[in-house]
Amino acid sequence: MTPLKIRIRINGEGMRVENGATVAALLALLDINAVGIAIELNREIVPKSQYLKTALKDNDILEVVRMAGGG
């Protein structure tokens, strides 16, 4: 039986999302604007064109980054 929720880690924090939720859905959920960000899913970069197509699986690890002040 497929679980309703899966566990993922995003930027070091644990989270539960709908099974089968896409990257795009996750961003929407977290209110993260896709402009200017990059996403690593299990150490592989997910191109922006794949956000809608990439479904999350249990234990996925994501890094979502953007620029910050720095020198």
Partner: protein, 254 residues
């Protein structure tokens, strides 16, 4: 003015690049960038904070060439990963490559740096490596395909100025790519000295951001880089041990 800075396929009028960290406020940062005359602006790559807004709006990507860095990376792997994320996030193949060796000095790990530079150049990145003032490493980075070398003047954030002008000069003499002094410039004369040595440009952050009046210091740096470059190009007078009158020796009253 024709004395432009060429880095890889890029070309700039300004020889000053500035960072975006540590400013008292984003407004002061914005005004400082403006006053500095910089065309290239460095940024770090960090996790999206799940709540607050970023500084993105304060750095106008249409106005500035954004140069993401890999600050905070202590291994070649982390630096490579960060560079790839930066490329994806900012749609740029430019990368200021840092592989840090030690928390106290923030000096580069030159082995890791060379390794990461090799990988990233092959992946099509335009690599500007933050390195130490070792001429051998600088040459190896150039040989690895970096479009510039960026030796430090002094530790990041130390404001000590060029600790070893002799090495910087040796690097410049040997380099076929631009030499950009990165880190350690604390005041305007430090910048002028670097340019007079023959550096092609300077990248700085703390020297401006932590001045009491960052906007004023940004303007000072803007002018100092130009002054140093002009002095370098104008061919300074030779130094002399003794005096030489500037008023005529003839025509004195008796």
């Amino acid at each position: 003015m024709e004395d432009r800075l060429k880095i890889g396929k890029y070309e700039f009028s300004s020889r000053l690049m500035v960072g975006t960290g540590k400013y008292p406020t984003n407004e002061i940062m914005k005004a400082s960038l403006e006053a500095s005359g910089a065309e290239v602006v460095t940024v770090a790559i960090r996790r999206v904070e799940l709540k607050k807004g970023g500084m993105l709006d304060y750095v106008d990507a249409k106005k500035y060439t954004i140069l993401p860095n890999t600050a905070g990376c202590y291994t070649a792997d982390d630096a490579i990963r960060t560079a790839r994320l930066a490329r994806e996030a900012l749609s740029t193949e430019l990368i200021k490559l840092e592989v840090i060796g030690d928390e106290k000095t923030l000096f580069p790990d030159t082995q890791g740096l060379l390794e990461a530079a090799g990988v990233l150049v092959k992946e099509g990145f335009t690599v500007l490596p933050y390195t130490n003032d070792d001429p051998i490493t600088a040459k190896r980075l150039e040989d690895a395909g970096c479009v510039a070398v960026m030796p430090l003047a002094a530790p990041i954030g130390s404001g000590l100025g060029i600790r070893n002008p002799h090495n910087i000069r040796i690097i410049i003499e040997a380099a076929k790519v631009p030499v950009i002094v990165d880190a350690g410039v604390g005041t305007a004369s430090d910048a002028a000295i670097a340019m007079e040595l023959g550096c092609d440009g300077i990248l700085m952050n703390t020297g401006i951001a932590l001045a009491k009046d960052p906007v004023k210091m940004a303007l000072a740096m803007n002018l100092a880089v130009k002054a140093g470059r002009l002095a370098y190009n104008s061919g300074r007078m030779p130094k002399k041990m003794f005096a030489s009158a500037s008023s005529p020796a003839w025509g004195l009253i008796e």
